[in-house]
Subunit: 334 residues, 2 copies
């Protein structure tokens, strides 16, 4: 194969086949993909969660991750947020003609490794190569399916007054890393993306606590936007303690220099968990026992007052409304 | 909403929500999508087919179709080729900042209509807006799932010596249309894309004929490439009568002027059907009774000789090898 990605590799002909067999099959190896039919045949039973996400992150390599593993983590997490066990992923690559083959291989290898780590099979895919200038380097779509384990299923509309609002870890790491890398900023301390597949931890949680009300990952739009979405869907209010929200000092520092608010920055390895008050301690215990939930903490409660609104209790005891993100803070964050 | 697509619409915040509710929900309306969770919850039983495809066609509007309906047809067809009933689609939009909102609405409306016509629900989606110049107008990924009806399942490796090779209609219409439109060529007669969802016809076929060996749509790479793929997977040969392959005179004319071979051009509403000799007549009858299979015909047979190779019997009775497409004939055809 050439050391650059050629248009030929997306033709559907022999050159495409070589790309698939020498690159994708090598890194994604599993029995279903190996059949190379136009569609994969899966065995699924009962209620199934399905989610899709396109990844356009710029740059494609960043501290703590790359677009390949991000494409696995993002979709695995979206499926898992329904209390489901992600089983199968599809992947669609759109590649710019001329991309160094070494970059593509690095992305594909990283994606294969992330899939093995999450315990999902990449069962079918599609590769398009488009002329120079019609896409920026590489965009990846992943779609995931998996059986729903939790019953009842956690869902954005199930937050109930009195529930505890828990957060699995620090906010803003991914968003600040992408912005910093893109703009060539050097932070004094090392800031890196938190991107990770949360499915193993989430499954443990819904298996041990059968009544988790809401699971949601604060990605684009950040914690503030996601909490508002839940408040609106659940027709309930929320009261969040500002000082309880964990933010790494180096992230807080970077944000304050750049005028960014970490509550609006994307996270790619964190989740919000809303449970009945009686289950809060147990949920925190399960989360903290896992490396991906080590900094888990309670950040507030669901209230009957102010349905659809999120109030932030400030360090001095005042209260202010925490609004949803209005427009775009940072494009191409994921 | 603005008359142009803004970066804000892909932010994950309030502007994104407006785009989703005022555009996507309006045209894709169905109970599962309306829940707006990060993932959809589906009820699937038993063996399920899953397929993904990214669409980058240029231009996004062309005679006979547009990128929105093509994104439905393409994935519906790939799922149906396993003898499955496509039920649910996801869609991932990547949109260039500044795209006229009217163009986006036209694409989304067309996609919604194609989905209703095919009888599939678009159950979950994702929208990214990327800065001007980082994608050309609009790319769409669709991923589809549906229960497999045929047992045994048609598959690329099941062509057996003695089987009849059938084709549902004319070759080259889509590929020549895209090339002609892109290059601003005017053909004397109207050439238009054949893009269509074949699932209703394919389901009728596998329900009435329980032993269809292979179903495959000759998209990128065209008929020649797809026949070669089947020959290789099935470890069988094929003998195809060149004069039996239907090509519209206006497509043949356009190809001869441009130096293109219709056997290597993409089709988006046609399929190859390989059945035991005894079922050939019945299969043709079912195909011809449907508007999408009106021109169905037998083009050849599977042979024990020359495994992995496709021979073309020329009008003068000679034989030549029909090779797979090597590189790229036309980029961004789908």
């Amino acid at each position: 194969m050439s050391d650059k990605v050629l248009l030929d590799y997306g033709s559907g002909g022999r050159a495409s086949q070589r790309l698939v067999s020498e690159l994708f099959l090598k890194h994604f190896d599993n029995p279903e993909l190996d059949r190379l039919n136009d569609a994969a045949c899966l065995n699924l039973q009962g209620p199934v969660a399905m989610s899709t996400d396109s990844f356009t992150v710029d740059p494609i390599f960043f501290p703590g991750g790359d677009i390949g593993q991000l494409a696995v983590h993002g979709t695995v997490n979206d499926v898992a947020m329904l209390g489901a066990e992600p089983q199968y992923l599809t992947c669609g690559y759109i590649i710019e003609e001329g991309l160094p083959m070494a970059d593509l291989e690095r992305v594909v290898a990283s994606m294969g490794q992330a899939a093995r780590h999450a315990g999902v099979y990449i069962v079918t895919g599609d590769t398009k190569v488009v002329p120079r200038g019609t896409v920026d380097k590489i965009f990846i779509n992943t779609t995931g399916v998996g059986r729903i384990v939790a019953d009842p299923m956690p869902s954005g509309e199930r937050a109930a007054p009195g529930d505890a609002v828990l957060l699995s870890g620090t906010m803003g790491d991914h968003g600040l890393t992408i912005l910093g890398t893109r703009e060539g900023l050097s932070f004094e301390a090392k800031v890196q993306s938190d991107c990770a597949s949360l499915n193993h931890l989430l499954l443990k949680l819904v298996r041990e606590l059968p009544d988790v009300h809401v699971l949601r990952d604060p990605t684009r739009g950040g914690l503030a936007t996601t909490l508002n979405e839940i408040a609106i869907s659940s027709k309930a209010g929320m009261e969040i303690e500002e000082t309880a929200i964990p933010v790494r000092p180096e992230v807080a520092g970077g944000c304050s220099v750049l005028g960014l608010d970490p509550l609006y920055l994307a996270n790619e390895g964190k989740f919000i968990c809303i449970v009945p008050e009686k289950d809060a301690e147990k949920a925190l215990e399960i989360m903290r026992a896992d490396a991906l939930g080590h900094d888990a903490c309670r950040i507030g409660s669901v209230t009957a007052e102010n349905p659809g609104k999120v109030s932030l209790v400030t360090p001095l005891g005042g209260k202010r409304l925490l609004n949803m993100l209005e427009g775009e803070q940072l494009p191409r964050i994921c």
